[in-house]
């Protein structure tokens, strides 16, 4: 799917201000066709503002933003023909059936009556909404409603699908439904930019991840690159005896010269280690001489969670800890 030509989305020094608040403060970002880009950030980082700016709902206050080479400020109408937006809130009309909703949006994309019917039918089949298509959307489950919302953004065959926190507020079943739908769209060649504050979601769905905080991109890369970018492996020790957790933590801290985190429920202690391989042997020896029985000891790469916390530098803003993000 690699396509030459302008990137799907290209932001340079993009700024958006709401009064005194800078929601986007010099954001640089490139999304390429053929890849799923996830924009990951804590609540209030500017994710939703970015999506709304790409969707021409919010005008930029500065910088540049192009969608497939089209400037959003100069030609917003042309941009709207390229995009499909599925927002945080399931924006469908609850008193209309799924099919009526899809037909309406298809007509508003410019389809004639027959083509609108066909597009609605195609989307119903694609997203497995056949059984509920003729029920009012107000009666749908969260996952069904979100899939209908996704479907509504597809009936105009957009070249770029914008998903703003597609699974926020869904239960695990609903989330799995939406993930499966997104994957089938990717398989069919739809280009997607999504925002999320779930690391797992970025890891699962995206090829490229841009981490943003306070309206700026603070890291870019694949999940593997981001994990490697932290540069420090993690030594993790599981103990048979929970009473010795703090003793083990003290041993690890002396050895790695970085703070050790105690996980009481898992009876584990972990600490970042500069040159993991040599430290691991030393850790085994040190724990042994301190007479702390070890159940399991491992050297591993950091998880995306750990990367994220290191990058944003705040435990409180950890993703997934709050239900909603700023709109």
């Amino acid at each position: 799917m690699a396509v030459t030509g302008p990137p799907l989305v290209e932001a340079h020094g993009l700024r958006v201000r709401f009064g005194k608040v800078a929601a986007l403060d010099g954001l640089d970002l490139i999304a390429r066709s053929g890849q799923v880009l996830a924009i990951l950030g804590p609540n209030g980082a500017g994710k939703t503002t970015f999506v709304r700016t790409v969707a021409t709902l919010v005008p930029p206050s500065g910088g540049e933003l192009r969608v497939r080479g089209i400037d959003v400020t100069r030609a917003p109408v042309a941009v709207r023909r390229e995009i499909g937006l599925a927002g945080q809130f399931a924006a469908v009309e609850p008193t209309m059936t799924g099919r009526e909703n899809l037909r309406m949006v298809a007509r508003l994309f410019g389809h004639r009556r027959k083509a609108a019917e066909a597009a609605a039918e195609a989307v119903i089949e694609m997203l497995g909404l056949g059984e509920v298509a003729d029920r009012r959307a107000g009666t749908y489950s969260g996952g069904q409603r979100r899939r209908l919302d996704l479907g509504a953004s597809l009936v105009g065959a957009p070249r770029l699908l914008l998903l703003d926190e597609p699974t926020t507020g869904l239960d695990p079943g609903g989330r799995a439904e939406v993930w499966a739908a997104v994957r089938s769209l990717v398989a069919a060649g739809t280009d997607i930019v999504l925002t999320t504050h779930y690391l797992e979601e970025a890891d699962e769905l995206a090829d490229q991840i841009v981490v943003i905080d306070h309206g700026k991109a603070i890291a870019t890369g694949t999940a593997a690159e981001l994990k490697a970018g932290i540069g420090r492996d993690i030594i993790e020790v599981a103990l048979a005896d929970g009473g010795q957790l703090s003793a083990a933590a003290a041993v690890l801290e002396t050895l790695t010269a970085s703070p050790a985190v105690i996980d009481h429920t898992g009876r584990r202690v972990r600490s970042q280690a500069g040159d993991g391989a040599t430290r691991l042997a030393a850790a085994i020896a040190a724990l042994d001489s301190a007479r702390i029985p070890v159940d399991e000891i491992a050297l591993r790469h950091p998880t995306l969670d750990e990367v994220f916390l290191t990058l944003t530098g705040s435990q409180q803003d950890a993703p997934g800890t709050k239900a909603d993000s700023l709109r």
Partner: protein, 267 residues
């Protein structure tokens, strides 16, 4: 769950529309959706009808006995004014619906589509004018049941009704703007109460000359009074205050329509 393979039912190709919809087509879709919502939410239209009947009943039969106004009895004075201003009571529903669409993200969805911004306003106006038109006609019919009789010809009656429908259109646009400025549905409801002031401090229920001196200038010169006077005059084939009423109507539409279009853009 994490490694579910794509449920790759091969998606049937969706054609790409050749061009964005014409403004008229987009308007029709927006209007259709608003009307569907209205008629599929029993609370909306049942309450509208019940409310207008109830208010008319109270003014005609509860307060009416104590009010001396109009040569032809209070029914002949009250009912033309009431029908002309009924939109000021039902219009709150328009503002609430607009604010709800905004809060629920439906407005965002519509704004992300390649349609003319004006279609959002014209579609909404068309739908709300239709529902308000019905409530005006219904209230007029109710007026006859409550003792109103045409003082002159049926043609004069229709002219007066036409004026009422025009005001319905004018205030529909005003209420759309109120809904767009309201931060949420409750606020939209509250802000719509301003319309009550316009309705009551006018010549609709009592002559402004019966009000205290300091209130008379407002009651006399605000737009609703000439609008109501023009309807009363039209019923007898006259054109008293007609020009002023038409100028107010045109001015309000010309002022509020662009505000609505611009405000939708950044809803």
């Amino acid at each position: 769950m994490s490694q579910t393979t794509a449920t790759a039912s091969i998606p049937p190709a969706i054609a790409r529309p050749a061009r964005p919809p014409a403004p008229a087509a987009a308007t029709a879709q927006i209007a259709e959706r608003a009307l569907r919502k209205y008629f599929r939410t029993p609370g909306l239209f049942v309450m509208g009808v019940v409310q207008s009947a109830l208010f008319l009943f109270m003014f005609r039969y509860v307060f009416g006995g104590a009010i001396r106004a109009g040569a032809a009895g209070y029914a002949g004075y009250l009912i033309p004014g009431y029908v002309a201003t009924i939109v000021l009571f039902t219009g709150g529903g328009i503002a609430v619906a607009v604010a709800e669409d905004k809060a629920q993200g439906l407005t965002d969805r519509l704004l992300s589509l390649p349609i003319a911004r004006s279609a959002l306003v014209t579609g909404r106006t068309l739908a709300d004018f239709t529902t308000n038109g019905w409530s005006i006609i219904f209230t007029a019919a109710l007026g006859f049941a409550f003792g109103f009789r045409l003082p002159s010809t049926a043609a004069d009656g229709l002219a007066a009704l036409g004026l009422c429908l025009l005001y319905g259109l004018v205030f529909t646009v005003v209420f759309i703007v109120i809904g767009l400025f309201a931060p949420n549905a409750q606020a939209a409801q509250g802000m719509s109460m301003i319309a009550f002031v316009l309705a009551f401090v006018s010549s609709t229920y009592v002559p402004p000359s019966s009000m205290p001196g300091w209130l008379q200038p407002f009651a006399t010169y605000q737009p609703v009074t000439p609008m109501v006077n023009a309807v009363r005059s039209a019923l007898t084939g006259g054109s008293h205050d007609l020009a002023i009423a038409l100028i107010w109507s045109a001015a309000l539409i010309v002022a509020f329509m662009p505000i609505a279009v611009i405000r939708y853009r950044r809803a």
